[in-house]
């Protein structure tokens, strides 16, 4: 870890501000954000809708220019680059994972994974072999020639993850990667991203509302009104009824019992707990915090 910290960050934002509109109609979507992501690090950015998460991800992914500040990807300042160089940066250094998968529906799973390699002019045979290996590692070895319409949500997202790492980028940006997945698939994809970060040394930034994903994060950041702050372990608790991770500030409610405060994901959980607290505290109260 020490080496990773002294190495060049895979992503660095310095005092980045993005303003939409001008004059009195100007809205600061992101304001003075600074952030550094090291290789092998998983950072989750959370925040309410409209807080600037997507804007920040777009800027980090060289899809949107900031109004001010600078962005460094793999040691290169990208906000001074032209369109062509930005495309190359996205192609070589950044992988994207989207909430709605965004696979190309006319291409099979293996062809979707081959797309970034084709764009990067990797020889076809090599690209096919690499895509085949990637999908096999992702547990999709039997689904290579299936079209997206023939895959489940979890399978689609695994293909999307395969596509994101196809060109061996240092940075992966994921927008709500578990947002459209059931609990099991969501957990699988979250673990997959963590493994990729740890085993392949990639920096991963995940924007999400999904509390389950906090478990895989090295750091959790909170973006609100365009400003970023680091969350501490005290910001979270586990709902003793449904065992969901709850952000204390966003909890549906709390219940004090035997000098402990418990936070709940929903009012239903709160009600159930209030009626029979001991039932949910067998083996002692559930530890609050991360």
């Amino acid at each position: 870890m020490q080496n990773e910290k002294t190495a060049v960050p895979v992503l660095e934002l310095k005092e980045v501000t993005k303003t939409y509109g001008t004059g009195r109609a100007a809205v600061k979507a992101v304001e003075g954000v600074s952030l550094s992501i090291a290789a092998g690090e998983v950072v989750v950015i959370m925040g309410p809708s409209g807080s600037g998460k997507t804007t920040m991800l777009s800027i980090s992914g060289a899809l949107l220019s900031p109004t001010s500040g600078s962005i460094w990807v793999a040691g290169q300042e990208i906000n001074r680059l032209g369109t062509r160089e930005l495309s190359k940066t996205r192609l070589r250094h950044i992988g994207f994972v989207f909430q709605s998968f965004n696979l190309l529906p006319s291409l099979t799973a293996i062809e979707n994974v081959m797309v970034p390699m084709t764009l990067a002019r990797v020889p076809k045979r090599e690209a096919r072999k690499r895509a085949e290996n990637l999908l096999s590692e992702l547990g999709l070895g039997e689904r290579l020639t299936h079209y997206p319409s023939e895959l489940s949500g979890g399978e689609k997202q695994r293909v999307a993850v395969g596509r994101s790492v196809a060109n061996k980028p240092q940075l992966i940006l994921a927008d709500e990667p578990t947002g459209n997945l059931d609990s099991r698939s969501g957990h699988f994809v979250a673990e997959l991203l963590r493994n990729i970060a740890k085993e392949q040394g990639k920096g991963i930034v995940i924007v999400s509302h999904d509390m389950r994903i906090v478990d895989i994060a090295d750091r959790v950041l909170w973006l609100e009104d365009g400003k970023l702050r680091e969350e501490t372990g005290d910001s979270f608790a586990t709902d003793p009824v449904c065992k969901m991770r709850v952000q204390i500030a966003d909890a549906a409610g709390f219940h004090d019992y035997k000098n402990e405060r418990y936070y709940f994901d929903s009012l239903k959980c709160l009600k159930q707990f209030s009626e029979e607290p001991e039932k949910y505290l067998k083996g002692g109260p559930v530890e609050s915090g991360m």
Partner: protein, 369 residues
């Protein structure tokens, strides 16, 4: 990316069929109107184009058959026959007039010909006879059918009655059909019994009609034009007259058709906007995006073009079967022009959406399903 472009195109067959169908219909309209226009021109100059004459000799200063008057002395016919390179020179008489047929007044070119000669008269087999007497007429068969007359019936030409002895083919025109009388009869009707109006010249094999024309003009004070020159001159005259409307229709149909094609391709491209947005996010260069969109537009356009061309040829036969008076000609020139136009439109319909994709809002790829 070509593979993606190709597969993406065929993924949604209904959309492809609609795009191709829209383009095919636009091509059909363009080619049919162009075909009608070309047909009208061909019908209007049929007498010049279909007969065997290589040269047409007329009064000096005259350059047309349509809406023109030319008078020549009868002796000139023999004089031209003596010129080097002339195989045969035959005089005809001629008038632009109206004929009363079945109670209707029909505008007509009245040609006075010599039934014994091989040029000057009907060029296709006539139903009945073309060896007519001074009181007989050869009438176009479509005009006859349209006006409810047939062989043995009478029509009036320049106030005089004639019995229909023959029905000619390929002599109909919506501009002016051709009616054949004997040469001397037309001269009498023109009240110039000893004159001829044009001389039709067949040239010797191997001789250059243009050189022969120059020799005729050198010897006599006349205008001698080759078949191509005379035909072109009449087509120009016809365009300057009422056919401008058809030309305007043809132009408008071309513009509307091309606009339909452009909109179809533009819409088809926008329908795949999200896919292009994904490609852009993943790192596709501007060139790669252009190539992808261009392949899809061009394949769609070419499929539509081929389908439109087939439809146009099928419609040509269907329309002429229903409306025999309409001649639809699909000249190669019009087909090539439509092809080039569609290529240009395809490129334009590619450039505009790709420019939009270049400025794609990142939300396109980040927004949830």
């Amino acid at each position: 990316m070509i593979r993606f472009a190709w597969k993406s195109l065929w993924l949604e067959k209904t959309r492809l069929a609609l795009s191709t169908g829209g383009i095919a219909l636009a091509i059909l309209v363009i080619l049919l109107i162009e075909g009608v226009f070309a047909g009208v021109e061909e019908q209007a100059t049929a007498y010049i184009d279909k007969g065997k004459a290589d040269l047409f000799v007329m009064q000096e200063g005259v350059a047309n058959l349509h809406m023109a008057s030319s008078f020549l002395p009868p002796a000139i016919e023999n004089g031209i026959n003596d010129i080097e390179g002339v195989k045969k020179a035959v005089g005809i008489t001629y008038s632009n007039t109206t004929a009363e047929i079945g109670g209707n007044r029909i505008f007509s070119y009245v040609i006075g010909f010599d039934p014994q000669e091989t040029i000057g008269g009907p060029w296709k087999k006539v139903k009945g006879t073309q060896d007519i007497s001074p009181d007989e007429v050869v009438l176009d068969k479509i005009i006859a059918a349209q006006n409810g007359v047939g062989l043995g019936d009478e029509i009036k030409v320049m106030g005089r009655s004639f019995k229909i002895a023959g029905l000619s083919q390929d002599t109909f025109s919506i501009v002016s059909s051709i009616t054949f009388l004997r040469k001397a009869t037309v001269a009498e009707l023109n009240q110039r019994p000893n004159s001829i109006n044009y001389v039709l010249v067949e040239t010797e094999a191997g001789s250059d009609p243009r050189s022969v024309a120059r020799r005729i003009e050198k010897r006599f004070k006349v205008n001698a034009m080759t078949q191509e020159e005379f035909s072109q001159s009449d087509r120009l005259m016809i365009r300057k007259m009422g056919i401008d409307i058809i030309l305007a229709m043809s132009f408008i149909s071309l513009v509307i058709g091309l606009a339909v094609i452009g909109m179809t391709l533009y819409t088809a491209t926008l329908d795949r906007f999200r896919d292009y947005g994904v490609l852009k996010a993943v790192g596709a260069s501007r060139f790669q995006l252009y190539t992808t969109v261009a392949v899809q537009s061009l394949v769609t356009a070419l499929l539509g073009f081929v389908a439109g061309l087939l439809l146009a040829y099928l419609s040509k036969f269907a329309v002429t079967a229903i409306f025999p008076e309409l001649l639809i000609v699909l000249p190669i020139r019009a087909v090539i022009e439509a092809f080039v136009a569609i290529l240009i439109i395809s490129v334009l319909a590619t450039i505009i959406p790709v420019r939009l994709i270049e400025a794609v809002d990142p939300m396109v790829v980040f927004e949830g399903a």
